[in-house]
Symmetry: C2
Subunit: 429 residues, 2 copies
């Protein structure tokens, strides 16, 4: 058996603690599989005085995370978090010191991934991040190593468990986004500051990494259009259901001759397709792998065990000496993505208008849509109560989002329309 | 860039042709990702005179497949098929000559996998078989390299596209197994000799490989109970639907303290769970990865592109030098599975009786079931037409299959019961 793989772990929160626990509890099985022992050699966290489990207390402690880069280890596991600062300094210093790095830090990778991949290559070490996307689902490895024969034309996924949990709860209870979020925060299912989750930013970070692996682009959220779930209403969820759809927060990246279309937004997914059935805190990814067809992956998106499992899988690859380029291609070859023009892609759209219940309203709305060549596939019109507003809900045929936005701008100006019209695209599930 | 990886391909059917095509058409992308070229250096097939595509005709030809083992290549791709004979001789000779081997041959691996893994290790080369299970789904790699942190307690899957296609067609058309099979054969969706598919043997081969990767056992179908789909009737499919289930041919392997429970059989899967929604020729696998939760993988199970993609992924691993033990652990450590005693596992069961429409029938059946401590969760009784037989259909609470079999033996002896009772277990989806 080769000499042990010595591991430094920076950050001992849920995931870091889980990683050290697995390395200790499952040491024999991991060593048998890797052909060498995996040894947590030094750990580091913010607060040394915090009481910790025995398997952590037994490991040498470093006070300064940056000192790990110079310590006697083969790999540094960065679980500090933050898209720059100490985490970035530690990763860079470790790679430059010839140490492999494993990280779960999607925010950091979506911004500095290309640059760090180059540093890793220059120093002949690996930069691994299975835990950064979709928890324990081995989607990073699948895109980097498995789905390579026919190319991947599109990836789309449910990448944030908090949003998926909130949307699932909104559907099952009929309650509003704000109420469900407040409950989730009270019960610890959502962060006190949930902006990054519900605003779509976290999904965007993960999508940037998936897009990079799929298309060979330098990861970046700059070209992404990002909309969170705060505007999704119980009404829209109920109408979606009537039309045979469910609303999910999707990250979607599509490669075309005109560029890459990357967006995070609530989307209508047809009931019965795989993504529509992903409930609660689960994550899922669909990869369209050219002629090899779509592949679907589902699993727990967060939490100690799934995320620690992903970190361990990366450590096992490193232990076995399997450390190719971070994004599956030489860093120098990663291209800067060009955004597909907004008119390049068409889809069907769900539209909802709140209007006064008066003759001619529908004719006016339909007229404006026709003006922009938007045709209607199906429609529901439903009054609330006599004298109150009426909801007019439609599914369009395929059209561009530009056409829809233009039409909605005109329609929003009508004195018969009472609030900003809602538009949600349909996506393949 | 390192020197090219030289590849021999034995067998130029759908998959072999697809592999050579991808190696030729996507050469640049593969070389960029692997850090070296992947070159088809020599090919071999049964009939040299057969007209072949240009990308194949350009490659040097060997008349004797066994000669490939001695040729100037790094890897031999075995796509000849057959669980012994030339395929086995070629794989052995190639490994012994220090060449890596990639194969899609599940029948062979389920029988000789342990022995071949040992030969590969002795000669320091890789034995890879992503294409042997579930087409392009990277489930072999996921079990071998990704889902390793918490252990895998059970794997279950839809592993034969022909069976899944037939069951899907039976449900949508209401037609019998025989009719649908005959049609599928006419249209080329099923082999002329479909015994291995519809009898469950092919699923068993694949399940043996998955179980080995999951549990560290030597692959074997010997301990497996195997039932195919020929006995599934449109009635059972319709009743399943009424109870909220769908019938799927599942391969299920479960590790417990008492041993491994490995079975291939039609099973009831609850509608809305991932496996229930796998339609047509798709394959899918659920892996229960301990605390990390269940993982679900779905994709095309057969055909040129998905299967060739899996072979290419293996070749890419070899090109990058990532060649650990074939089943994820040293071959010498693979254990011989012990079958769990049949009483060790409980599940709910679907039962159907065809009985005479006479007072006391239900009381008699229920009485016998109670004798064996089998209790009923729900029931449908439906007469066909006055004077005809009546179908009595039940879902039991959890019990052992031994109890059910014993009760059914007694019930089958009743003069009120007209045909052999049907029993189908419920499985998690």
């Amino acid at each position: 058996m080769s000499r042990p793989l010595r591991i430094a772990v920076a950050g001992l929160g849920t995931v870091g603690g889980g990683v050290v626990r697995v390395l200790s509890e499952r040491a024999d099985d991991l060593a048998e599989r890797a052909g060498r022992e995996l040894v947590p050699a030094v750990v580091c966290a913010r607060d040394r005085r915090k009481r910790r489990a025995d398997w952590i207390a037994a490991i040498p402690w470093a006070d300064d995370p940056l000192a790990l880069a110079q310590s006697d280890v083969d790999v540094v596991v960065e679980l500090i978090g933050g898209e720059s600062g100490v985490a970035l300094d530690l990763i860079k210093a470790s790679l430059e010191a010839g140490k492999h790095v494993v990280t779960a830090n999607k925010a950091l990778l979506s911004r500095h991934g290309g640059e760090l991949a180059a540093v890793a290559e220059r120093h002949g070490v690996g930069l691994r991040f299975e835990a950064a996307v979709a928890g324990g689902i081995p989607i990073v490895k699948a895109l980097r190593e498995s789905l390579v024969a026919h190319g991947v034309g599109a990836v789309r996924g449910i990448l944030n468990g908090t949003c998926n949990y909130i949307l699932t709860q909104m559907e099952s209870t009929g309650r509003s986004f704000g109420d469900v979020l407040a409950d989730a925060q009270r019960m610890g299912f959502a962060e006190a500051d949930s902006t990054l989750d519900v605003g779509g930013g976290d999904t965007a970070h993960k999508l940037a990494i998936l897009a990079s692996l799929a298309f060979g682009t330098r990861p970046s959220v700059e070209l992404m259009s990002i909309t969170g779930i705060a505007q999704v209403t119980p009404d829209d969820i109920a109408f979606a259901r009537e039309f045979g759809y469910r609303i999910k927060l999707l990250g979607v990246a599509r490669m075309s001759a005109e560029g890459i279309d990357q967006r995070v937004q609530p989307a209508m997914v047809k009931l019965g397709t795989p993504l529509a059935d992903v409930d609660g805190a689960f994550n899922a990814v669909v990869a369209d792998a050219g002629e090899a067809g779509p592949f679907f992956f589902e699993g727990r998106g967060a939490g100690e065990a799934p995320t620690a499992a992903a970190v361990i899988a990366d450590l096992m690859d490193i232990a076995r000496g399997s450390v190719g380029p971070a994004f599956g291609r030489p860093a120098a070859n990663l291209i800067t993505a060009i955004a597909a023009p907004p008119g390049a892609r068409t889809s069907a759209f769900y539209l909802r208008f709140e209007a006064v219940d008066r003759p001619g309203v529908l004719a006016e709305i339909a007229g404006h849509l026709a003006q922009f060549e938007i045709s209607i596939e199906s429609m529901i019109q439903r009054g609330r109560a006599p004298g109150e507003s009426v909801a007019i809900v439609m599914i369009t045929h395929e059209c561009t989002s530009i056409a829809v936005e233009s039409a909605l701008n005109v329609i929003a100006g009508s004195d018969k329309v009472l609030s900003a019209p809602v538009m949600i695209p349909m996506e393949a599930g």
